[in-house]
Amino acid sequence: MSLLALRAISKSFGPTRALDGVHFALAAGEVHALVGANGAGKSTLARIISGHLRPDRGAILLDEKPLRLAGSRDAIRHGIAMVTQETTLAPDLSVLENIMLPRLGLPGRLRWSAWRAEAAGLTAQLDQTAMLPLDAPVRQLAIGQRQIVEILKALALESRIIIFDEPTASLSPLESERLFTIMRRLAARGRGLIFVSHRLEEIFAVTDRITVLREGRVVANARPTVDLVPGELVRLMVGRELSDVYARAGGGGAQKNQNMVLEVSHLASPPVVRDVSFVVRQGEIVGLAGLVGAGRSETVETIFGLRRATGGEVHYLGAPFRPRHPREAIRAGIGFIPEDRRGQGIVPDFSVRENLLLAHLGGHRGIGLAYGARNAAIAELMGLLDLPARRLLDANMLNFSGGMQQKVILARWLLLEPKLLLLDEPTRGVDIGTRSGIYALLRRIAAGGVAVVVVSSDFEEIIGLADRIVVLSDGVTVSELPGGQVDIEHLAILAAPRSSAAGIRALLGDLVAAAGGIAYWIGVEGERLVCFDRVGDNQAADPGFAVGGLLPVAASAIPAALTAARGELVREADGSRQSLLIALTGRRGHDLGVIGITLPGAAPAPDGPALRRRISAGLAAWAADDAEARAA
């Protein structure tokens, strides 16, 4: 019997359908992950369960009895609480006062001594007595501690269902670990927990079952976590079918001899962008793929002058380019469509016409507006974008659908005839119909000689659209692939979040300096392997794979080492190479791939145990650094 069940829940916002017939069941005593890409509807679902939103259709059953929630207070009354990264605590009140805050709204006397005893009991239940002084003002607490106060508040209300919505987004590893321990403990005491996150490692570390949403529908219903692997989960999140919306206009793609428009090498912009390199040629669409937090948006924002670069170089049209301000980028012929359309794109008090002319105004030199000079170009663009000029231009931007708004923002930049167009999640919140129109338009723009960079979390979109795909993970470029030919699984393995790609690279360098040969970091999924990074150039030690390559284990030059047990020095059957591989595991025990070193077979046999110790020590140092860096 399930604690909570959702039957055929649907919810629309204006023309956008956020949830479409979603079924979901939560059992007592489990931690249930709710997973999906951006815009999949997981937060909407969480907000429906917590009473913040009301579903258009469908039923909610609590203990198999129908439940109608009038609001979040109502949900709390029924024992449903939500913990988010932005806590709803009163910062100037003490921990105790915050835990008991809901009772201040009830009639009757304040019974602080009884409440103090109760709060102390709850704190002890979670084993937090030493960590959480009840009289400290909440303002003094770290974010992780505040979340624990939020949890205690939920427990004081005798909540049976607790939703954790991206709770770890700003927590240090230690704090996350503590939170997970508490979550497991709550589940063990018979509560039902819903965990919303996009961090795969955490999902595998803490949850019992996983429900995956994609574009408002359930694509995997309550699958046991142990039956899934990260690659499979990512594939479920991002979809696999390549529909005809991406239909290529024959040939497509830039030739090698086209002019280089943008060359980015080792770009760094802390804290997120650490080492990003890629190039874009005239007429080419390059996709920046990766998961949330990989540094894709930050990379394009740095190129556009919205963030400061601290390292590396950007060459634009052959000359070094480092804009201090978006205006410089605009005048140089660069356009940028931000991810957050409402926050960074639309000026709500301006008409559509003036929104369309905003970048013109930003790039314009002179005192006046020179709007009139753009009338012909606007008329032409409205036709190109299939926008109804008469109905549109003098109206308010916010009256129109997301797709229409995005077209106007696109027109804002096309008006300036850019040489380089940067687009961050260009189809976020855009309906499917308009999407294919935008794809076709981007192709046409590229065919006209514009260099286009598209950032997208939607792997299907990026594979369908981009001529080349650059994969980022943790702020580092990990791979570059031709578009169209790559499959989603391949991309998913490459993009899977890996902590500290830069730290691993340093370790590989150390290994090669000490022992020679070639050191590498690979992921092995069944019969296939993918190479994340590789250091060293000794041809005789070549393991048979390059960075970003996906190939069968048997096709590499070291199949024996790859199939043998980890931690042993393995000599290949033909004696040409000897390799030592060590599994890389995360702090919570999940697979992060394999670190290996291959030496020529002819080289004197290295001291295996010493080499192993060296790798282990390097990994330990890396893990410590990593933890420290994240805590700070």
Partner: protein
């Protein structure tokens, strides 16, 4: 309801200028009915004269409120720059004194703007501080004495006529016409609206949001000093308490004129009508022999009513 009436209603709801014009006419008609003296030439000239000082300050205040800020220092700045004007007339001559007065106003406004924009301090706090500083400086510089004995040339600013209009009122109209052009047709003006409406989107589109934010406060400082000049020319005497209350009158005029205190919405013509409405009401109450103590209540009620009306209309729009 006929289609024409519906169109008219729609335009009334969507266009501040039209709404303010109508409101002003209604107020005038009402006052003309209750007091036969209201529409006489003498009284109208009097009303024009009274709207000059608050009108100038309200113009600068409009720019600041459009970017979502507020300038509480305008009244004190008028006091301080007026004292500087009075003291500088003898050593510098009238022209030099006016230039110095406007320069000091600009400088104080720019200091406001720089601290607010680059120091990221709330405009309310910074201009509140400047309000206190400027008033205190007015007393320090003047030794807490009034300054009389101003050159007659200064008085000519308020006593001469041009094309049948009082010169000071004509200057006010010219400045408002320039401001209208700036806000509607110049890059800087549109930038002010964009900053108040969504500063981040303006930044991404390459607009110079810091430059124009500072400029708005600088302009407000200049307008305060200009108001001080016309205030002095009217009574040919300067008092360190001069300009007291102008901050509230100017904010009231802007708000009655339909601007949003959150920025991004408002019109310079609306502010001008807002000034007229305030002056009319004061004048009308005087004509009706209502105790001046009641004027605050009347003006306060109008401010609240105007904002409520704006709220209702914007709710209808969205």
């Amino acid at each position: 309801m006929s289609a024409m009436a519906r169109t008219l209603l729609h335009r009334l709801a969507s266009e501040i200028e039209l709404r303010m014009l109508l409101l002003t006419v209604v107020v005038m008609a009402g006052l003309a009915m209750v007091s036969p003296y209201f529409l006489t030439l003498n009284n109208l000239l009097n009303v024009m004269d009274q709207s000059v000082v608050v009108g100038m300050v309200a113009l600068g205040q409009t720019m600041v409120i459009l970017i979502g800020g507020i300038d509480l220092s305008v009244g004190s700045l008028a006091g301080m720059t007026g004292i500087i004007l009075g003291l500088a007339c003898k050593p510098l001559g009238l022209g030099g004194a006016i230039a110095l007065c406007l320069g000091v106003g600009a400088l104080a406004g720019l200091i406001n703007g720089l601290i607010i924009t680059f120091g990221r301090v709330a405009p309310f706090v910074v201009t509140l501080g400047m309000m206190s500083i400027a008033r205190s400086m007015a007393y320090v510089i003047s030794g807490a004495n009034s300054i009389g004995d101003l050159p007659p040339g200064l008085g000519a600013l308020s006593s001469s006529d041009v094309f049948g209009l009082p010169l000071n009122f004509a200057i006010l109209l010219v400045i408002y016409a320039l401001a209208w052009w700036f806000l509607a047709r110049a890059k800087g003006g549109r930038t002010l609206y964009a900053i108040g409406s969504n500063a981040e989107a303006a930044r991404v589109a390459g607009l110079s949001i810091r430059l124009w934010s500072v400029a708005a406060y600088g302009l407000s400082g200049v307008m305060s000093a200009l108001a001080a000049t016309f205030l002095a020319s009217r009574i040919l005497s300067i008092d360190p308490i001069g300009g007291n209350g102008l901050e509230l009158d100017s904010i009231a005029a802007v708000v009655i004129g339909g601007a949003s205190l959150f920025g991004g919405r408002g019109a310079i013509v609306g502010t001008l009508f807002g000034v007229f409405i305030m002056v009319f009401i004061r004048n009308g109450l005087n004509l009706l022999n209502v105790s001046p103590y009641w004027q605050g209540t009347a003006i306060g009620a109008i401010i609240i009513a105007a904002v409520l009306l704006e709220r209702v209309l914007s709710a209808r729009r969205s």
